[in-house]
């Protein structure tokens, strides 16, 4: 195997496994020792691939963003209507319910953590949210296209983000799956009503 390929492969393994670790421990409690352990790479070796812990975070977020973009593109081919796509988005917390209950939303909790006196890192974490926000705005634009709605697509997208973040926070705190189920059903009704007001 060529040298560059090997490097890329090990680097990818570190990033993939650190993604999960970051989610479960948070950024500040995640140490290089932890990273080395889950990545199955000698501790000092991580520094061959990443200069600093911030660099690791950056790589993990970029990896996450790649996955999100790919997922959203797939959805656009698999679900023909914006209503279906928006409902699919709202399903995420329910599909990931065990993890949401145990650790919260990976995107929201990271933003909350870094939002406290680590603004340069929070800016990185925000990029994840931007991906969803932009995509949701696009879907809502299509949804309410010829409906003189009194709310803009951007506002509707923000509202949907608020609902998914809120239910992740509360269901996480109360360790209660039924909250997710109920709230997702509410969201589906609300999305239907957005179309119905023609």
């Amino acid at each position: 195997m060529a040298r560059r390929e090997k490097t890329t492969q090990v680097r990818e393994q570190i990033v993939k496994r650190t993604d999960d670790l970051l989610y479960k421990k948070g950024f500040n409690l995640m140490s290089f020792t932890d990273i080395a352990e889950v990545a199955d790479v000698p501790r000092g070796n991580i520094y061959y691939y990443f200069k600093t812990k911030d660099d690791v975070l950056k790589a993990v977020i970029e990896y996450r963003i790649e996955g999100m973009k790919q997922m959203l593109t797939e959805w656009e081919t698999n679900y023909p209507t914006p209503l279906q796509r928006l409902k699919r988005y709202a399903q995420i917390p329910l599909n990931e319910k065990q993890r949401v209950i145990e650790y919260g939303c990976p995107m929201g909790t990271l933003n909350s953590e870094l939002g406290k006196s680590q603004t340069s890192l929070q800016h990185l974490a925000k990029q994840q949210m931007d991906i969803f926000n932009n995509w949701l705005t696009k879907q809502f634009t299509l949804l309410i296209a010829d409906q003189g709605s009194n709310q803009s697509a951007a506002e509707l997208a923000e509202h949907l983000l608020i609902l998914t973040q809120g239910m992740s926070v509360i269901s996480h705190i109360y360790k209660d799956e039924s909250i997710l189920l109920r709230e997702v059903q509410n969201i589906e009704k609300w999305l239907d009503s957005c179309v119905a007001t023609v």
Copy 2:
């Protein structure tokens, strides 16, 4: 001044000022050096009042809970109807908008932070949320008393918690006050509609 009074006074000063510090830095990034600095007490001296950092957290949360209980009791005398009280609750993020934009919700962000592999501490943080949750449930019970509503008061309370947590998260990430304003108005309409369905 009697010895016991002096101790209580210094202890209270540490707790009050650490409350703010905890909010702004989060638990894991808040060091004893920071605490000593904001409390204006020599570093090693904190240990006379608190054995561990966890003990400081416990005291701060107890202090917060006391303040919350007092506030809610005041509301019950100042606002005669449950509708007014619920609207007053929804106003909190708007009243605290600068701080919410900069640091998020003090209660929600603490829960999110401690919810990751620090479950014994998260249990403490959850107690804050319980205070609001129980009080909101009580208000919703009064609100929908004789209305055969299809949603229970507990579910409505959880939904309101979700909305306030969600808007805190999103407005914090996007540093956008207008989100708070818009969402609080939405909540007020929703609360009105809860009564209107008689």
